[in-house]
């Protein structure tokens, strides 16, 4: 691992709603270097909430506290809105789950990629266009010229997700947060998208946070895995060692997966232990 890009210590996120407060993330700590870090867990375990608090994407009703929340040399908690804007999308960016909902339906996809570049660089539009075309080629889109002027409804899901990746990477960020980037995609298309991400991470000086609920996928794709349950990190383990996971929740999740090669009559169902909440 090279230098630390992101340091998080005791991150808590609290939502206030109709007088009630609920703690969505509790005491989460991790660091990110030049690596692929996965955050896995069920829906509602707080994995996306962690990703969003790094980019300050929460509504004002959310209260984010932490002992440390540092990106490179910037304290993300103390940073002004202006500083955050300079980071968001330029030095740290986020890939959302479903390209169908995250692309602007009435703007050509190439323009959307160029716009991401123009938002952070003072260059002529022509140059931004050129960079967008380069970027499309880099995410393995065969005919960038043609795809540049398509509208989002004219591209397939896999292509849409690669366009989203192009848009997020064009500013050459140091950290990318990918929030379930392949969940809306087919198995066959998923491979392509993962390959593109893999290539970008190995070519550039990039740290990737890969948020997913698919343990099987992350154990092949990522270097390190954080397992979250009810807002807490219950286990942090190297992806290659997942087979030796010690926490019963991680083991339960792995065992609950149906398998092609090892059919079983009934799948073991996860038994939740209330003690995990405080462990």
């Amino acid at each position: 691992m090279t230098e630390i890009k992101l340091a998080v210590q005791d991150l808590c996120v609290e939502f206030r709603n109709a007088g009630k407060t609920s703690l969505a993330v509790r005491d989460v700590s991790f660091t990110l270097g030049r690596e692929k870090l996965a955050i896995v867990g069920e829906s509602g375990s707080g994995k996306s909430t962690v990703g969003r608090s790094l980019l300050r994407l929460h509504p004002p009703t959310a209260r984010v506290t932490a002992k440390t929340l540092r990106f490179a040399d910037i304290d993300l908690l103390a940073a002004s809105e202006k500083q955050i804007q300079a980071i968001r999308g330029a030095r740290m960016s986020m890939i959302m789950q479903d390209p169908k909902y995250s692309l602007n339906p009435v703007v050509r996809v190439g323009e959307q990629i160029a716009e991401a570049y123009l938002a952070h660089h003072k260059v002529p539009h022509r140059e931004a266009r050129e960079r967008a075309l380069d970027m499309l080629a880099k995410v393995h889109i065969r005919d960038p010229q043609r795809v540049y002027s398509l509208y989002p409804h004219e591209v397939s899901g896999g292509m849409g997700q690669r366009i989203m990746i192009a848009m997020m990477v064009i500013t050459d960020p140091q950290v990318i947060i990918a929030d379930e980037p392949t969940s809306a995609l087919d198995v066959s298309v998923r491979r392509q998208v993962l390959n593109v991400l893999e290539e970008l991470v190995s070519e550039r000086d990039l740290g990737l946070i890969f948020i997913s609920h698919d343990l099987n996928l992350v154990r092949h794709f990522c270097d390190r895995v954080l397992v979250m349950y009810a807002g807490r990190v219950v286990e942090s383990i190297a992806a290659a060692d997942l087979d030796q996971a010690s926490h019963p929740y991680t083991r339960g999740l792995l065992a609950a997966l149906p398998s092609l090669d090892h059919p079983r009559a009934t799948l073991p169902v996860l038994q939740r232990d209330p003690l995990w909440l405080n462990a």
Binding site: E42, S43, G157, D186, V187, S188, V189, R190, R191, H213, D214, L215, N216, L217, R219, H220, D243, A245, P248, R251, G252, L253, L254, A255, A256, L257, P258, S259, L260, D261, H262, P263, R264, A265, T266, L267, P268, V269, L270
Partner: protein, 255 residues
């Protein structure tokens, strides 16, 4: 006896230059009590086949028979006492302002069946819920509980065939295991026939006896699901699917 017979099923949308054929001579046979998987990438037409059987499309050509009865253009009411469907997303398939009780009574009322209260409690128990869920609204249920209610609603008319459209793809792995177990148990107890659409080969291998692989509106291969693990698939596309799901999985560990 074949429970579901499909022969020469063709379907297209649009006319003239915009004609888009989505199903080409689809043929399938599902035996009584069998669980049959239908896999393929998005847009290959697998859900469309289910929709034809459920009577949601009427302009198809070909022969469809369920339990020996031909599926006609204008389906009689009792068709739905033989065939019911469970949809992909339990968050979208339950009426947000109907209680569980109202949602489950509706099919009974449509079919003029008496003793509804009794039947609702029975079916809730059968899907692993109980009477305390009866007067809740969908937003008061978790994703897995909602899918249980959707399955209960499909089963309350005591159908013989369940059409399952990706019943677990919107659920977490831990909840997916519960629902797959429930579906396996119900099939055994009730002698149901399943036709299940999915894109997860591991789910097919777990629940189904046989499967058909679809690509661009055609059935490209039909095989026993036991053959998947032993590399018995012959069509290139099937092998690609097997490869893709094997890439991302290894030996499961024991708990």
């Amino acid at each position: 006896m074949s429970m579901i017979e499909i022969a020469g099923l063709n379907l297209s949308f649009g006319t003239g230059a915009a004609l888009n054929a989505v199903l080409h001579d689809v043929a399938l046979n599902v035996a009584e009590g069998e669980a049959f998987g239908l896999v393929g990438e998005s847009g290959s037409g697998k859900t469309t086949v289910l929709r034809c059987l459920a009577g949601q499309y009427q302009h198809w050509t070909g022969q469809l028979r369920i339990a020996g009865q031909a599926v006609t253009r204008n389906l009689p009411l009792n068709h739905y006492r033989t065939v019911q469907m469970v949809f992909q997303d339990p968050y979208a398939s339950l009426h947000p302002r109907y209680t569980v009780d109202a949602a489950l009574q509706e099919p009974l009322r449509i079919h003029g069946i008496d003793g509804r209260g009794q039947k609702v409690s029975e079916i809730l128990r059968k899907v692993g819920l109980n009477d305390s869920f009866r007067f809740r609204y969908p937003h008061q249920l978790s994703g897995g509980q909602r899918q249980r209610v959707a399955i209960a609603r499909a089963l309350i008319l005591r159908p013989r065939v369940l059409l399952l459209d990706e019943p677990t793809s919107a659920l977490d792995v831990s909840v997916q295991a519960e629902i797959l177990n429930l579906l396996a148990d119900l099939r055994r107890q009730e002698g149901l026939t399943y036709l299940m659409v999915t894109h997860d080969l591991a789910v097919v291998a777990h629940l189904c006896d046989r499967l058909a692989v679809m690509q661009q509106g055609r059935v490209v291969e039909t095989l026993d699901s036991a053959l998947l693990a032993s590399d018995g698939a012959t069509h290139a596309y099937t092998r690609l699917l097997v490869q893709a799901s094997r890439d991302i999985q290894r030996v499961p560990i024991a708990v």
